[in-house]
Subunit: 681 residues, 3 copies
């Protein structure tokens, strides 16, 4: 976004719901001031109030909202309203409504569910976008475009089918190429005309793996194309206003990045990353600490898309209303979450919603101002406290998260391919959980991690972890090989390097660069039922593998651990291979966290990846993140446990949130507490 | 129904299935006599045999059935056949078939699944109804009209959509009112034309809470309207014959009154309540005693609709065939169930079915006469015994259940609203289970309870319990306030008084009359995961709350119990407020039965709600219900345990079922046994 | 098939996938030779490559495949390609695509999912079949026609509905007969026109039990009719080539024979039985021994269809890809499975697939030749070992499984009827599991069992077991009666003899021949919840019944065991009746395996059903099957445990797999090991 002068503290605001209650809007703005809310995000659900019927605009109320915001020196983030179209659009242009996989067109209803191909919809959206850009583009308060809302989902209408057909034809050029890529001879599915290309469907094909993968790619690209159709108008009219769209984090309980859209690609199209963060604090599924770790993953993922600071575009000050159970955050938890996000590189904390909707589905979703219209509630006070903290953090505004030396690879094509793999058991594949498990040791030891795509620059990383890389291009295998040859340390795992970008098996054994770099040849993969475990031992430890075990032939690698049970007892389970100037580890089986910690500890020690810090901790529930610039390091020290924790201050520091010095020695941090320390000069 | 001269003992009878077996019909009637069956319900599934094609009637066989019944002095309940239409109706008028939520019209099949709007269906039904009324209305045996069968379900055809649209327009008059009520500005759902009103659908809107609620109301009212279309013909031709339709009790396992239709409103349209009672005796889900309690609730609910005696219109003498597992009742259980129903105010016991259907889906549903055509089976003998008991009970025929001093409020609008609430967790909301939990203490202590709607007269009740009254009108809040001001005792609970009749949140805090009467202000509700518990303590007890805990501010109320854990430890959990001449209790959290018993025991003692009875019991599995008239009280003493129980007779009594005196002192009741005692003169 | 000169060792081969890789095809054939693969099954998925567009044939590549096979003296099994049609067929003739139960026509996709009624499809199939027969019918390598692939599924298109309507009319002749059979008067479903006959549907009728049963029959017969349309062409052009189609075994975990099609009837239409065998070895659901028992059942079932040797048409050398979890077989397991199949009468072992498909849904299904293209993998070596064993078994080629004296009855009409029964609880009905439980004692004691239909010849059996024969014709009841009268021993059970072929209850009590032969009258059936047990005791044993208990009246039968709990304690649970020259046992309740073993042991002892064998075993995990001809008995001794087992050789024998003598005395068999012994001369 446009360079900001302060941390953003704001959120979605819907004054169009209260136009007949001007006293409520007036009170809202007074409350914003009181709670140090400096930004409003408006327009997301406002289309019906902005364009009453086709071409009949009604922007006066929005003018007034801008006026009010500017009167108290607030920022405005303006949304394009394409995520929630008016009824008249659907009535006049039924093609804007999605068609489901069964071929049935939706009725008007819900939101962000338009056909992303429909020319009529793109036209209507561009019209209102242009109108908004022209009318508000010069407003001094306008700092950012918020394009649409939480893109996602799929459409199977004739327009999308035609666009997909064209996409496929453009990609493969000849039917022979297509038939080869989809291995269509299998089951006599040979295409003899481009017209036969149809999206996957439970009524048709669900098992053409190449087709399924291409459909994922197409949906992702077509959605980005829709975004670009909006962005193009905005860039034309307001070239100086940056553009974002709010990504989704999934519920951390889901243990998955957002699945539908390739955010690694989408990120290239936005100017700044923003996302909607809704961790399930206080659920019975995870401890606060475990959830904090998953939330850390998601924040690192979001920062990593552009390797830059990012925004929280939505979050709740208390509870959501769409989890199976919706507990309000406990006192202090909201501040804890905010400090964590800032510590990973967020420069903006926005809420959904500033004022609670009086009716409809999200009427009980948490908000800064509730139905009681009070400013003395616990929630309001905790929001105000966060506002104060963000002001205190002002000196850290232009810092960034400390550069990581450790990178974890993940890839959307691979994720989609793994989700569709037939033989390795849908139930246990757990790709994202595996990513999280690789991350855990580093988080517990305050070692920064960056998430990288197959297209990223690797030169800055000493350690690259590349788990379950099932679908891998030949180029990427070469890149791995080259990285290690040049001195990098690589960790790979079971179920890697099996299919190419078309979802066709590599023939004749493992890719040569992989065989070389790892010094082994995987031969079989045993896929275990959840109750079945296989013993593994290295020199010092005995453990048990679950879910997957690779049976491999050894070439140049050295064995670090061997299986101790089942018919492949005594064969290698974990190997290490010196290759060129570097080293490649192959983890052939799925291990528990304890074993992974032992495994990574050795590598971390070898590479000297830990730093001396002015704080020592006694529990992994306390986490230290750093934001830095050339002159200063800010240590975000947080207690993610439900009870107090002890830390030791080793050199004198100041907590910039309070401005107070913290002396050398032991200190107690209460549950959920957070400090932002700088060394005392 | 027309004043009856004896307890009804009868059931659904389908001689049209046996027209080619006159010897079977003859045997059936002989068996009826033997089993003291005095009533047959006929015509429910007979339309195809009564109207062979449009306008071609064939009533001779039914004439003969009436003749036979009258020859042995039996009553006849005649059903209108609208619940199961002939194939020719659907073939000629496809509009009578329902359309499902996905817009697909059903084929002919199953039963009671017609469109309740279709003018063609209403016309065909009125024709046959008129025919039946004209032909049989003067029959001396005819005692009651049984309109259709188990109304329920929904239709989404164009006719119903149009009717709903009109219903909405009539209600709201202006689009502004509609948009306000549905808070349609949210998600840009503003209606700009009445044509945009469409029923909720998974293809369209499922989250417009006001729309969802109105659809429930419409379906209920439109179904009643269909009933009225039938009733109108019957009232015109046979003004002296009363009219019922058979309500459903749900399976008591379901812990829910029938959900689809507002029976509290429907009850105003029938002359006498009748319902179909199918408790799951012998399942593994509940003890016999626990199930008996739930069955007691359902019988009290049915009596309460009109505060009058009612009928069991269907029940099984042995097993059903549509539970997941279908055990026959154990010996004595059938009589146990019948005596319980009578004790709550039932004056009629009818079976589905008198003679087992030889084929099709219900061919193994229990019946008085089975495929073996025997009259010496266990089932036949138990039915005969019930017949004898009903004759012995003749002196109690004109008594009614003892007037309750305790009332529990429930409300269909509230139930529908709660079923759709997003934030309070569908899994744990359990509205009906909460109703049952309030009832339990009173049942265990033989204290009569009445169930009341928001429209009922409250003057007769000393204690009113109003749990989870989430959707509450301002008028009703005033009524609560006034009730306590005038001396009533009120118990309210968590999640009450939050939205108005439109499903819009009340603004500015709790409704003033509620705040006043309870003397508190609820601030937040914590929604717990099933494994999470919060400690609560009062002076004498420690317990744990589950599912919901309210955090509240205290005004004039006194604290009875406080939380002892979580961040709101030490804040009030249960309060008592003296207001006017009465008292209002607020139960802020969900408690187990043990705590509720302690809570209600104090109130019951204060109000002196227990009576001196000639029986003392040693277990809550023994229940005593009373039916009374001005001169006599009949004590229905029943053992609902699977083993014997001891009771103590304190004054000499006579069991009118046996005519024998039972002496003062201890007596054993075998499992499932029942006595009907009067004090010896 | 044509008399073969050796055990078939082969499998599905799809060279059409590799036409642009002739070097791979060449290598494949070299590998076949190495692994003693003597047969290829081709053409199953080849239609798109054989008929490029309508009438445009392209058979050159297939000619070459035949040439290659014949060059190395291999057999060819040629498939008709109807199981996987080309896209152009569906594009030109949409009627070939199935319509689902909701009336929606499928898109092109997946496989074996054509409408089995469509005249257009039959015509296209017959054209290509004739072409193949004419071109390849005289090839010396051609040994068998493999018609289509794994027939199954249902179609609800207008053509099928019309065919069903005609089938129903042909069967019942008059609407009166139809209405009687479907008991259509119930729920007013009387048919007044044949046009009203529609297949069961969730949108229409799902509860007309007679209709449901007839639909199963129709689907089965219409599918056979489609098969016959193919077979007719083949028989005409190649009268000397035998015909099969590959039956399915279900996953043994499913505990069910294939449900959709009446294989007992279908078997009459094929020349040789072949089936696809995919046991879930190494799952966590069953021990290896328990699974081996279920696999034995399935092999005996397949042999029993024609009481003759049969073929394994598909199997995997390692893993499948469609189980929830797909473990490769452990070393030795593949050979174990093959020897078991041979021992039951299989003369052919075929794989799906010889060469792994490079892409699409089955790309990771196990294959002899994998993506690595290696011939030194474990799988390749185990397949080669099996090839060697099959050569060693050559002397046993013309033997057959030993004639059984014990028969178990099962029946498709009964299975379909039981699957639809409403009152006896879908969850616990478990018909096929009950069949397996009757089989277990005999398997554990190496006593051969044959599975028979109601149409089979019974004269060869000393013991007939007829469990849960719910739907039973009057003729069959007479047959049971006559069988016992003539000296047979019969075991019957709960829930038998209740409905006739129309699914109408028998009236007036149990069928007289059943009452006579069993000497009892069943009165009630108690249906227990899974956690509920009923005690049973005989003279020596105490046990507990689950799921079902029959309450019965005794006539001439003697009581073997009585209930000891519930209200029917002390009444008979198991009875024995001497009738004519034979004996009939009635097992009134469902027992565990321990009790069944006691029960059957006595009968087996009485009938002297065990044989003296040259081997003694110490565990039931070791199984001995025999194949015999007039001169020699081959003892297949297999250890189905995951650990070693001890056997005792009592007379000198030779293992023909190794040619070595095994001396008298104790010997160890390692896990999964198998011997094929003949007595030493």
């Amino acid at each position: 976004m446009t360079q900001i002068r302060e941390f953003i503290h704001g959120g979605d605001y819907n004054p169009e719901q209260w136009l007949d209650h001007p006293e409520i809007i007036a009170k809202d703005f007074a409350y914003f001031k009181k709670a140090h809310i400096n930004t409003i995000t408006i327009g997301i659900f406002s289309w019906a109030k902005l364009e009453l019927s086709e071409g009949e605009y009604n922007c006066d109320w929005l003018d007034e909202v801008f006026d009010r915001a500017e009167q108290q020196d607030m920022h405005v983030i303006l949304a394009t309203p394409s995520g929630a179209r008016p009824r008249w659009v659907a009535e006049k242009y039924p093609e804007v409504l999605r068609v489901d996989q069964n071929g049935q067109r939706h009725l008007f209803g819900e939101r962000h569910n338009h056909c992303y191909t429909s020319p009529a919809y793109r036209q209507k959206v561009q019209n209102i976008d242009r109108k908004l850009a022209e009318r508000y583009g010069q407003r001094k308060s306008l700092i950012l475009w918020h394009v649409s809302n939480e893109f996602g989902g799929q459409c199977y209408c004739d327009l999308c089918q035609a666009a997909f057909r064209k996409w496929v034809q453009d990609k493969y050029q000849t039917l022979d190429n297509l038939n080869q890529a989809y291995w269509a001879t299998f089951w006599s599915h040979t295409y003899t005309s481009w017209n036969q290309v149809v999206a996957p469907s439970p009524r048709g094909d669900e098992n053409l793996l190449g087709l399924n993968l291409d459909w994922h790619r197409f949906v992702s690209e077509q959605t980005i194309d829709f975004f670009e159709a909006e962005a193009q108008v905005l860039r034309e009219v307001t070239p100086n206003i940056k553009i974002t769209t709010n990504f989704m984090g999934g519920n951390p309980d889901d243990e998955h990045v957002f699945f539908d859209l390739d955010y690694q690609k989408f990120a290239q199209h936005v100017d700044v990353i923003s996302w909607d963060s809704y961790p399930s604090w206080r659920s019975d599924a995870k401890t606060t600490t475990a959830l904090a770790m998953n939330t850390a993953v998601m924040n690192d993922v979001m920062r990593s898309y552009k390797h830059a600071n990012y925004m929280i575009m939505e979050s709740t000050p208390s509870q959501v209303n769409w989890h199976p159970i919706n507990r309000p955050k406990a006192p202090g938890m909201h501040r804890m979450g905010v400090l964590q996000e800032i510590s990973h590189g967020a420069n903006a904390i926005n809420y959904f919603q500033l004022h609670q909707s009086r009716g409809s589905s999200e009427m009980y979703h948490g908000a800064v101002i509730g139905h009681d219209l009070r400013d003395d509630t616990r929630v309001f006070k905790e929001v105000t406290k966060v506002g104060e903290n963000l002001i205190s953090l002002q000196p850290a505004l232009n810092t960034t998260a400390r550069q990581a030396k450790v990178a974890i690879v993940y890839d959307y094509d691979n994720m989609w391919a793994l989700s569709d793999v037939r033989n390795y058991a849908g139930e246990t594949i757990k790709y994202w959980r595996t990513i999280q498990e690789q991350y855990q040791y580093f988080w517990e030891h305050d070692i920064p991690v960056e998430f990288i795509s197959t297209q990223d620059d690797w030169s800055v990383y000493q350690l690259v972890i590349d788990p379950m890389h099932f679908l891998m291009s030949r180029d990427f295998a070469n890149q791995l090989n080259e990285y290690v040859a040049q001195g990098g340390v690589l960790v790979g795992s079971y179920i890697s390097g099996q299919v190419d970008e078309r979802y066709l098996a590599y023939l004749g054994g493992w890719l040569k660069p992989l065989h070389e770099v790892y010094g082994i040849e995987p031969i079989e993969t045993d896929t275990l039922y959840p109750s079945q475990l296989v013993g593994v031992a290295d020199e010092n430890n005995q453990t048990q593998a679950h879910d997957y075990t690779t049976i491999m032939e050894l070439d140049t690698a050295e064995v670090l651990a061997r299986y101790t049970s089942d018919w492949y007892a005594d064969s290698p389970a974990v190997t290490m291979n010196s290759f060129g100037k570097g080293t490649a580890y192959y983890v052939g089986a799925r291990f528990d966290q304890k074993y992974l910690a032992t495994f990574y500890e050795k590598i971390v020690t070898d590479l000297q990846l830990t730093s001396v810090m002015p704080i020592e901790k006694t529990t992994t529930a306390v986490h230290v993140n750093r934001r830095e610039d050339d002159t200063q390091t800010y240590y975000f020290v947080q207690n993610f446990a439900d009870e107090a924790a002890t830390i030791t201050i080793k050199t004198p520091v100041i907590d910039i949130l309070t401005g107070k010095e913290i002396s050398v020695g032991k200190h107690q941090m209460v549950a959920y507490d957070g400090l932002v320390l700088v060394k005392k000069n």
